[in-house]
């Protein structure tokens, strides 16, 4: 295990390094890096000074090492728009995105697994057919359009739920959270449902496929033959077997939820990192774009690593010597 873990850690390090190379290369593809680091209305002297400070007169590989050195120190430049360090801007917005993504994922897992169990255990019942038809619609629905329609239905027509912002927040561990207040939860409801919808369909189908596979296996039939209560057979025997692939997928889906939350955030004016990223791209606030990418890549690599470790702990059949890369999707 430890040698596998070490190899996996080195691999994760390489992924982060590769992504910094790509981001760095992207910066240079995007045009003169001086334009990226200096505000557009700076004069020639200021530009030359910045170029010298950032070492932009040096060869490219030296520049990359400098970029890396500064990145390690948490310095990714200042935002032109907010005039504050880009990285701290991203870190400030991160809790809003995290609480939205975690809630959406909880909804997706809860509804996905229970609906999937229902559809898998009684595959020919009308309700199961309805669930499966619904899952196709769920996979086909464009998330951003559903978000708009949710606003139309629940905010404009019915007036039940607010359509934008985070609502009231309370501090916990020095960070402001919405999910601890009733008003905050009311603001969270629509974005979280919007973000969860696609994942519900995905996890539902995965669960159903797993149940259909496991339900005919000998150990499940034997458990039934022993006269165990159906709830115990489902809750212990079936669920345990299907949870293993689902846990891995959830790790990856968490990353994709955070990335896709930018769509939901921009519809519901949710002040998270995704909305910050979209706004930064629209006004070409490049330091913030780089800071977002670096932060998100670090987060994703960590989550992938944790999911990999958890997978190996849950499923003893997976050979520990086999160091296949953690990518599934």
């Amino acid at each position: 295990m430890s040698s596998w873990l070490l190899r996996r850690l080195i691999q994760a390090g390489f992924v982060v390094l590769a992504m910094t190379v790509i981001v760095f290369a992207g910066l240079h593809l995007a045009g003169n890096p001086v334009d990226i680091l200096v505000s557009p209305d700076a004069d020639a002297a200021e530009r030359a000074r910045i170029a010298a400070v950032f070492g932009l007169d040096r060869p490219l590989w030296r520049q990359y090492l400098l970029f890396l050195e500064r990145a390690v120190q948490g310095d990714l430049g200042r935002s032109f728009i907010y005039n504050q360090p880009a990285l701290s801007l991203v870190v400030e917005r991160l809790p809003a995105t995290l609480e939205l993504s975690v809630l959406a994922l909880l909804l997706a897992v809860g509804f996905g697994i229970s609906l999937g169990l229902l559809a898998g255990l009684r595959p020919h019942a009308p309700v199961s057919r309805l669930i499966m038809a619904g899952s196709v619609v769920g996979l086909s629905l464009p998330t951003f359009w559903v978000g708009l329609m949710l606003v139309v239905a629940f905010s404009v027509r019915l007036g039940w739920l607010p359509s934008s912002g985070r609502g009231a927040t309370v501090p916990l561990l020095g960070v402001e959270w919405s999910f601890l207040t009733l008003d905050g939860l009311r603001h969270l409801a629509l974005p979280a449902v919007n973000l969860a919808l696609f994942k519900v369909a995905l996890i539902l189908r995965l669960t159903r496929a797993g149940v259909r596979e496991v339900v005919h296996l000998d150990y499940v039939r034997f458990a039934r033959a022993r006269g165990l209560a159906p709830s115990r057979v489902i809750g212990v025997h079936i669920l345990r077997a299907i949870l293993i692939p689902i846990v891995t997928v959830i790790g990856l889906e968490f990353c994709s939820t955070i990335a896709f939350s930018m769509v939901t955030e921009s519809i519901f004016a949710w002040p998270g990192i995704g909305r910050l990223m979209i706004e930064s791209i629209q006004v070409l606030d490049r330091p913030v774009i780089v800071a977002y990418l670096v932060a998100v890549v670090l987060l994703f690599v960590t989550v992938n690593l944790l999911a990999d470790i958890l997978y190996r702990l849950l499923d003893p059949r997976v050979g520990l010597a086999d160091a296949a890369p953690g990518a599934v999707r």
């Binding site: 464009p142 994703f300 990518a327």
Partner: protein, 298 residues
């Protein structure tokens, strides 16, 4: 594609079709998809107006609800947008763009990915593991993040959107082509071809590739749907195609500011069109996967 079906005899194709047609839902979906493609292709002839020709638009007809009679077009069946553009016409033209982006990116990404996958399977060793590492690295990041990186660094516009979609998609084809090719390369007909000292590229392209096609076609159906959705999402966020030639996603974005005042049709109908298109592809693709499945593998 047609040449390949001819060389692999008619029977497998006929059985796949029979299995596919066994599902009424799948047949219906295919019909809907064909209808949408036809409508998109024929848009210049069947659309009530050319939504890009400013002389045909009447600003006084702006934001009319569905079914209103109008000046430029006799009846605006699906209403008009803020510039007085007939929504039905705009949607037909938008559909064209969405399909072009979806199918175009799938074709390029499919060719590139398949070539990479076949090369990896044939070469093995370091080349194989190197190429697959790159594919895995790419697959471990969400598609929208990769697309966003391309747009953030290269700017918006249809060419960059296509590039982003190709970058997102190729790895799926590469993975599928490699695993299918690895199975085929061990089979007897490939050994026979090798005994005839056929050049490796000929064995790969003429003997192995046709047998990898079923799994690649299945990947292609899901990827076309994903590409269309991703393009619509990018356009909705204002990071996609240009404003002058709206895709379905951009039409939805245009209606966004009127949603709050209750003028929902501008966003509603393009979204319904997108939903129908995606559901048709997904349902037909599902059945196609089931129909092709027994023939996958050795």
């Amino acid at each position: 594609m047609t040449a390949i079906t001819e060389t692999t005899s008619q029977t497998p194709g006929a059985t796949v079709w029979r299995d596919f047609a066994a599902s009424g839902v799948a047949l219906g979906s295919l019909a809907v998809f064909a209808l949408l493609v036809a409508a998109a292709l024929l848009a210049p002839w069947i659309a009530p107006q050319n939504p890009f020709d400013l002389t045909q638009l009447d600003v006084l007809d702006g934001r009319l609800p569905p079914g209103s009679p109008g000046g430029a077009v006799r009846v605006y069946w699906l209403g008009t947008d803020d510039q007085g553009r007939d929504m039905l016409s705009a949607m037909l033209y938008g559909l064209r763009l969405s399909l072009l982006v979806g199918v175009g990116s799938a074709l390029v990404a499919g060719s590139v990915g398949t070539l990479v996958g076949l090369t990896a399977a044939q070469a093995g060793g370091r080349i194989d593991s190197g190429l697959m590492r790159v594919a895995d690295l790419q697959l471990s990041f969400p598609s929208i993040l990769i697309a966003l990186m391309v747009i953030a660094f290269l700017g918006r516009g249809i060419a960059n959107v296509l590039l982003a979609l190709i970058l997102v998609e190729w790895a799926y084809y590469a993975r599928a082509a490699r695993s299918a090719a690895l199975v085929e390369l061990k089979s007897e007909y490939v050994e026979a071809a090798r005994c005839l000292v056929l050049p490796p590229h000929r064995i790969l392209l003429r003997h192995v590739l046709p047998n990898c096609l079923p799994s690649l076609v299945v990947i292609a159906t899901t990827q076309v749907a994903r590409a269309i959705a991703l393009e619509a999402t990018l356009s909705f966020l204002g990071l996609g195609v240009s404003v002058t030639e709206p895709s379905l996603g951009l039409l939805i974005a245009n209606g966004r500011s009127y949603v709050l005042s209750g003028e929902t049709w501008i966003s509603l109908y393009p979204g319904v069109a997108l939903l129908i298109l995606m559901a048709a592809i997904n349902l037909a693709g599902d059945q196609l996967r089931d129909a092709l499945n027994p023939r996958l593998g050795p």
